[in-house]
């Protein structure tokens, strides 16, 4: 019996009788991180990292949450479950399952670059490795984040000299916190969309030291917003809500911005290929570091990535899950419903 089965409700461990990131309500759900395609509503019990708990409370309401620290195993019918940093967003974890000496690891979403705010990714040795492959093509090769931050700052200065506000489109959980520090370094005030602001205060009260942002309310005057910096989720893009910042320029922060067509399609003034996922090299490094005999690639370019691994001599297969949405942005469709409901 395999340690994890790919069921129609999500990744299932029959021996321990629990699910990981299920997309349908179950009795016991281990949650890798707080993004809405991984942490869904309706399960009876949730297991997650301490840092993810406040995020789930904000997004899913009060439920039975059990939270643990890094590498603190929980046992379910002899199966050991432990969490290791995935470096994707605050609290994001890889889920390690061990039974009778056999180890499986599910990455959730992850990146190998240390962003300074999410606990840095740690490779975990295992027999079977289930990895995301959102950006599993060699065209995705990220620049170091400091270089991108520099570009973002320069963009703000250019906009300012043209009398424009700078609106950054960033996912309210993860990207929004990641870009805060470099944006704050410009010394200009930063305003946040409601969805971003809610997450911000939740994380601040959970003890995260984040630079201050201002909430935009009906009282915020046009004068205050002149040439300001704004962080907003993709749902706000092109909406009447944006009008108050006029004149402004929009910059989208997403790995998808690596390809020009996506920037143009979004009618964005700038695209910053800043991703919370691994790039091609990151995925390859991670796979090799696990020493796994068998790899499953999921959400993203799973067929390409697994084919490539097989060519390298690493046995790999692809799995269809309902995470991400095939080849789609973390900012798009799947999450848009949730983002909207936050407004």
């Amino acid at each position: 019996m395999p340690l994890i089965e790919f069921s129609n409700k999500g990744l299932y461990c029959p021996q321990g009788n629990f699910y990981i990131d299920p997309w349908k309500p179950v009795d016991f759900a281990v949650i890798s991180h707080g993004h809405s395609d991984h942490a869904r509503w309706g399960s009876k019990k949730y297991l997650c990292h301490h840092d993810t708990k406040p995020i789930l409370q904000l997004r899913l309401g009060e439920n039975e949450y059990h939270s643990v620290g890094w590498n603190e195993p929980v046992f379910m019918n002899g199966v050991s479950i432990s969490l290791f940093p995935a470096g994707h967003i605050i609290g994001s974890a890889q889920v390690r399952i061990e039974y009778k000496g056999e180890v499986w690891v599910f990455t959730g979403d992850y990146k190998t670059e240390d962003d300074g705010i999410s606990t840095a990714y740690e490779p975990v040795k295992c027999n079977t490795f289930i990895t995301e492959s959102t950006f599993g093509l060699p065209i995705y090769k990220w620049k170091p984040q400091d270089e991108i931050f520099e570009e973002m700052k320069n963009w703000i200065y250019t906009n300012k000299s043209n009398g424009k506000s700078s609106i950054f489109i960033a996912y309210s959980l993860g990207k929004a916190q990641r870009i805060l520090k470099p944006l704050a370094e410009t010394g200009f005030p930063i305003y946040a969309h409601g969805a971003v602001y809610n997450m911000h205060t939740t994380l601040q009260s959970a003890g995260w030291a984040l630079p201050d942002v201002k909430r935009i309310t009906t009282e915020t005057t046009k004068e205050e917003l002149k040439e300001c910096i704004v962080i907003a989720p993709s749902s706000a893009e092109g909406s009447p809500w944006m009008k108050r910042f006029s004149p402004y320029a929009t910059g989208i922060c997403s790995g998808w911005m690596q390809v020009r067509g996506n920037v143009r399609r979004k009618n964005a003034d700038a695209g910053f290929a800043l991703s919370d996922h691994c790039d091609w090299e990151g995925l390859l490094t991670a796979v090799k570091a696990t020493g796994a005999e068998k790899v499953y690639a999921t959400h993203g370019f799973q067929s390409t990535f697994s084919k490539y691994l097989n060519e390298l001599g690493i046995e790999a297969g692809e799995v269809k899950t309902e995470y991400g949405n095939e080849e789609q942005s973390e900012n798009e469709n799947v999450n848009s419903e949730v983002v909207n409901s936050e407004l």
């Binding site: 093509l137 060699p138 065209i139 995705y140 090769k141 998808w256 690596q258 390809v259 020009r260 067509g261 996506n262 920037v263 143009r264 399609r265 009618n267 964005a268 003034d269 700038a270 695209g271 370019f301 390409t304 084919k307 490539y308 060519e311 949405n325 095939e326 080849e327 789609q328 469709n333």
Partner: protein
């Protein structure tokens, strides 16, 4: 090259005309004369012949990036653009680009002009070395210069206005000077802008005056007496010019097409020197006499363009004539500023004097009031035309697309309901998004494909269809997905012709999605018999005209 790449990137990331104008202006105020002339050439479609083919670029890239062909293809289908795919795959150079000699745009353009003669090995070496000296956007732009199909989103009008801002010459004069037959490798910027050069180029056409589609009720144009109505013919807009005993035929796309239409040869003798006539290059059924002609569908003309040598069979099956709309040069004098009524008089004189069966005057439609014209327009298709042109009688001949004096008033397109069965990812701003669809009609229990379309939906609708395709694809053939036949669209098109190449036996002209028929199920779509009936009716309209 860096400055040029920056310009291209700036142009690509803004949709605002003023920002584009400013970017080009800034570039022109700094660039060398050699670079300027190349930018004008590139932005007006005067690209050197493709010298390095895409197979060689692919191979060089795969070698540099150390990847296999299948993986390269996966990347290409996701990016949707060869030049960009390569720019993303080439490993970042080890050389510190700051220390590399910065080569100019003209440097590379001159090399590209001559590389065509060299062996593939030499070409591959040239390309891979150039890549190591460039950053990502430079590689992208450089590849674009080699592969062609470079849509920069800069209209001729925009560029003309930008040049006008850096020189003291008015936009309409610049628009005229940059037309015609000139070579960026042999002419300098100042020469091109000079009056001497303009006078020296006998072939130089005038910028075409283009009409916007009429937006409101035709009656809002005001007094009927001020307007002249003509049929809108469906050929290729062109200019016939005779200067210094030589004849030149230009298409609106600024392509010199003199040799493609031997029928016009006779005009070399008959037209007076210093004449430029604007009109429609169009296939006409023979025999046609003066004042009486019968246009053939555009598909007939299509057999003539894009061929190097015209066979006598083609000459017989798709003879070409010219329907004259306007005269813009007479006795070597630019007469664009005199009123259209006066120009029309001059045009009528010249054509009746020549009196050859290939040159016709565009007939004027007589009407007393708008009501009447609305009824006349309904006969457009029977006349073999695609609608009506309305021109203000006292209008000048302007340059480019301008509102106010000339309007096109096309007839409603033909439509058919069909189901989408294949989808492919688009390119450019639609990369990684399924936007190119193949449609089928019913034939008994089977579905028969008959048309492809990739325009007409809003971005939001495209996103919805894309989502559908990703969730409902049945099979994958390279970049193409077969999709569950479920989504029904109304396709609009301008014409229908017999085709041996298509399984359905028909080919449509300008098919596009006019409506997403969410109210219809695949059972409700049209049939192959419906299409064949449309073809029959469409052909009868033309043949009835010929027999008249």
């Amino acid at each position: 090259m860096k400055r040029f790449a920056e310009l291209i990137m700036k142009l690509a990331t803004t949709t605002k005309t003023n920002a584009k104008l400013e970017a080009i202006r800034a570039y022109f105020s700094e660039a060398t004369s050699e670079d300027k002339i190349w930018v004008i050439a590139l932005f007006t479609g005067r690209r050197p012949k493709r010298s390095v083919n895409s197979a060689l670029l692919r191979a060089s890239c795969m070698q540099a990036a150390n990847i296999d062909p299948w993986l390269f293809e996966e990347c290409y289908h996701t990016v949707g653009d060869l030049a960009e795919t390569i720019s993303l795959l080439i490993p970042e150079s080890d050389i510190d680009t700051k220390d590399v000699v910065e080569y100019s745009l003209s440097h590379y353009m001159n090399l590209l002009r001559n590389i065509g003669k060299e062996d593939d090995d030499v070409k591959a070496l040239f390309v891979s070395e150039a890549w190591t000296q460039m950053n990502r956007s430079e590689i992208f732009v450089f590849n674009k210069l080699m592969t062609g199909g470079f849509r920069i989103g800069v209209s001729q009008k925009l560029m003309v206005n930008a040049i006008a801002k850096t020189t003291d010459v008015s936009p309409s004069i610049i628009a005229h000077r940059i037309m015609g037959d000139w070579n960026p490798a042999t002419i300098s910027f100042d020469e091109l802008m000079s009056t001497e050069h303009s006078a020296a180029d006998d072939s130089k056409p005038y910028p075409f005056y283009l009409a916007y589609a009429i937006e409101n009720e035709v009656s809002e144009l005001g007094n009927e007496d001020e307007w002249q109505a003509e049929w809108k013919w469906d050929g290729i807009r062109g200019q016939i010019i005779k200067r210094n005993d030589e004849l030149f035929v230009w298409s609106r796309g600024e392509e010199l097409m003199t040799d493609k239409f031997p029928e016009y040869k006779i005009l070399q003798e008959l037209l007076p020197n210093g004449t430029a006539i604007d009109g429609e290059i169009i296939s006409l059924a023979t025999p046609s006499e003066e004042g009486n002609f019968a246009p053939l569908p555009f598909s007939a003309l299509q057999t003539r363009i894009g061929r190097k040598n015209i066979t006598s069979k083609q000459l017989k099956e798709a003879p070409v004539g010219f329907i004259a709309y306007d005269i813009i040069e007479e006795n070597a004098k630019d007469i664009r500023m005199i009123s259209m009524l006066e120009r029309r008089k001059k045009l009528e004189e010249i054509i009746s004097k020549i009196n050859v069966p290939i040159l016709h005057l565009s007939p004027i439609i007589n009407f007393n009031n708008w009501e009447e014209l609305i009824n006349v327009r309904k006969q457009s298709r029977d006349k073999g035309s695609e609608g009506i042109m309305l021109k203000r009688k006292n209008s000048e001949y302007k340059d480019g697309r301008k509102r106010g004096d000339w309007w096109k008033w096309k007839i409603d397109p033909l439509t058919i309901d069909a189901v989408m069965i294949y989808a492919q990812k688009g390119s450019g701003r639609r990369s990684n998004l399924y936007t190119d669809y193949t449609f089928a009609v019913k034939d008994g229990d089977n579905l028969v494909t008959f048309a492809k379309a990739y325009s007409g939906l809003t971005d939001k609708e495209f996103a919805q269809v894309d989502n559908f395709v990703k969730r409902n694809s049945i099979e994958k053939f390279g970049p193409v997905r077969t999709v569950k036949p479920e989504l029904v669209f109304e396709l609009a098109f301008e014409g229908i012709a017999e085709s041996k190449r298509h399984k359905s036996g028909v080919a449509l002209r300008f098919p596009r999605m006019s409506r997403w028929r969410k109210d219809k199920k695949p059972e409700d779509i049209n049939t192959l018999d419906d299409l064949k009936m449309m073809l029959k009716i469409f052909n009868e309209q033309y043949s009835s005209k010929v027999s008249e």
